[in-house]
């Protein structure tokens, strides 16, 4: 781990800082305690308006049920996930939160014997409807996994993989995409001098940020994160959390986490899952300070889980 990531500092200067400045009011309005985070946002993030109207729904599910063979893993989940917000899915192990997350890019298709009823939607389009192109869906809905899984290729090859399979052959444009994606994943300064070395030489936290960069390279609209920091040390974890703050200006982020402090720190809305049910879904602050359900309160206060 680099020492730099341990000290989130007000770093960017010049054109990058100028590009980042419009973000500051919004970010500091939402997270007054973490004002130091906002200036870290680097290039190419479009200026944002302060949200006054409720954001548009990006992902939704209606009566979503999922079966592993005969066993029902999800019980009629209804949810609406807002655009350009961070939504955390929390709950004890085996509660179905990861399974639910994977419904939105249909990674559950890879598991034999999975059956799904009800609806899952991206922009009002049924993800399990007829004629849906799964490959296209996965380009729009990126995913970061629990265990960082860079390919055993160079750093450059890892990030360029997605654009290349999309048909981009021009080396110059690929270089641009690689740089932009690595910058957006706050990894560029760490690796810019060794893009042609193996990705497996990076630290755990850097590997996970590389996986985020790789996912960003295909310019998805949604980023699904399945416990992205659970295998990382606290410093690398805080680096990933800062990154999530930065990314939500452009992406709809859904994050599964075991760590309730993490959910409280990074998310705008939180959904509590228990035994395959969505128990409660509300503003993160409400879930952690004033939950309506007894089970939610027991869980967030650490009485079980």
């Amino acid at each position: 781990m680099t020492s730099r990531s341990a000290l989130p500092s007000v770093r960017p200067s010049g054109p990058e800082a100028a590009a980042a400045r419009p973000l500051a009011p919004e970010a500091s309005a939402t997270f007054p305690t973490r004002a130091s985070v906002a200036p870290r946002v680097v290039a190419r993030i479009p200026p944002m308006q302060i949200q006054t109207t409720p954001p548009k729904t990006k992902l939704a599910s209606e009566k979503l049920e999922l079966f592993y063979g005969e066993k029902r893993a999800l019980h009629g989940i209804d949810i609406e996930i807002p655009e350009r917000r961070v939504t955390a899915l929390i709950g004890p192990s085996g509660c179905g939160k990861s399974t639910f997350l994977r419904c939105f890019n249909r990674m559950n298709d890879l598991i034999p014997g999975v059956k799904i009823t009800g609806r899952a939607m991206l922009d009002d389009k049924d993800l399990y409807g007829r004629g849906l192109d799964v490959v296209e869906l996965r380009r729009r809905v990126g995913m970061v996994f629990q265990k960082s899984n860079p390919f055993p290729k160079t750093i450059w090859e890892n990030v360029a993989f997605g654009p290349k399979i999309l048909g981009e052959k021009n080396k110059g444009r690929l270089d641009e995409i690689v740089e932009r994606s690595l910058r957006n994943a706050a990894l560029w300064d760490d690796v810019k001098d060794r893009l042609q070395t193996s990705a497996l030489g990076l630290s755990g936290g850097q590997q996970q940020r590389l996986c985020i960069a790789r996912a960003l390279a295909v310019e998805p609209e949604v980023l699904l994160m399945d416990e992205p920091a659970s295998a990382l040390d606290p410093i690398a974890t805080s680096r990933i959390e800062e990154l999530i703050h930065e990314l939500k200006a452009r992406y709809t982020i859904v994050i599964v986490t075991h760590n309730m402090q993490q959910a409280a720190r990074v998310s705008d809305r939180t959904a509590f899952f228990y035994m395959g049910e969505l128990v409660e879904y509300d503003e993160t602050e409400t879930i952690f300070t004033n939950p309506k359900e007894r089970r939610t309160e027991d869980y967030v206060t650490g009485r079980f889980g």
Partner: protein, 300 residues
């Protein structure tokens, strides 16, 4: 100081395992020693570069070396694509519990247990008589061209023989590629085909080459399958066409040992031939292993 019965039994068994292991070393040492001691005097540049002469009691064995190497190369070219694609089907595409996949899998294991002489007969029946015979019937008005023993049929017969090795090792190699890498590729919007060809196969390549090495090692030494399918007693020319016959080191050893009118006169040549057969096998293996370690470095 006295040892308990337990300790004595323990020491005795340790000694037993050691001496059992020694048997394999001794066997190898005796074989290699005998071949080396008797073979090296015969070994010379002329021996590996000239054709046999004077009823195989003089001259060299170059045609047999050439035939063996060509046979093994043709076999490799045939067996690798078929074996790898079959393994990809079994591991990546087939539903593991499906009847077809189970049938293919048990066919692979059973094929591995078939005696090699049976493959020779299969080669005659299927490749020479059925495939070759029909080619002659339809394209050459029944003139016998393909419907006779040939290097093509011998190498294909060997390819069938070594197919199980390639399939099983390729499947093992695919198994070593983490599921997470397939998921990552698919989650980036690649098709299954792209995930397999761009992510899985490059990582599995060293393992697949292990399969090729094992196939080459097996194929270079087998004599029974080529006995009826293409190996010749003696040929004045090197094979240049797919339907030519060829000379082969293993078969040459058999010929020298059993068919020569003057066994004593051919004995040095026989030892020399065995030595060369061993060397050719070692060299083919060494080439494949070198290739594999270069690939490992590239992808590790």
């Amino acid at each position: 100081m006295r040892f308990s019965a337990h300790q004595r039994a323990n020491a005795a068994f340790a000694g037993l395992t050691g001496s059992a292991a020694l048997v394999i070393l001794l066997a190898l040492a005796v074989i290699l020693g005998d071949v080396a001691v008797n073979g090296f005097p015969r070994f010379s540049w002329e021996f590996v570069s000239q054709s046999p002469s004077e009823g195989m009691t003089a001259g060299g064995i170059f045609p047999a070396i050439f035939g063996t190497v060509l046979l093994v190369l043709l076999m490799t070219v045939a067996v690798i694509p078929v074996g790898v694609i079959t393994a990809i089907y079994l591991f990546e595409y087939a539903r593991q519990e499906s009847l077809f996949a189970r049938a293919v899998r048990s066919a692979v294991y059973n094929l591995a247990g078939v005696p090699s002489i049976v493959f020779g007969l299969f080669g005659v029946g299927f490749f020479i008589q059925f495939v070759g015979g029909n080619i002659d019937r339809f394209f050459y008005d029944g003139r016998v061209l393909w419907g006779q023993p040939a290097i093509l049929w011998a190498s294909l017969t060997l390819a069938v023989l070594t197919l199980p090795v390639v399939i099983v090792t390729t499947e093992e190699a695919l198994r070593t590629v983490p599921r997470e890498h397939r998921e990552a590729a698919l989650a980036l919007g690649s098709t299954k085909f792209e995930a397999i060809f761009k992510i899985v196969l490059p990582q599995a390549l060293p393992g697949i080459l292990t399969g090729a090495i094992l196939a080459v090692a097996r194929g270079a030494g087998e004599t029974a399958p080529i006995l009826f399918t293409g190996a010749a007693y003696f040929l004045p020319h090197l094979p240049t066409r797919a339907y030519d016959q060829f000379m082969h080191l293993g078969y040459h050893v058999y010929v020298l040992a059993t068919q020569s009118p003057d066994i004593e006169a051919t004995k040095p040549i026989l030892y020399g031939t065995v030595l060369v057969l061993l060397l050719v096998t070692v060299i083919l293996n060494f080439l494949a292993i070198t290739l594999r370690s270069r690939l490992r470095r590239k992808f590790a």
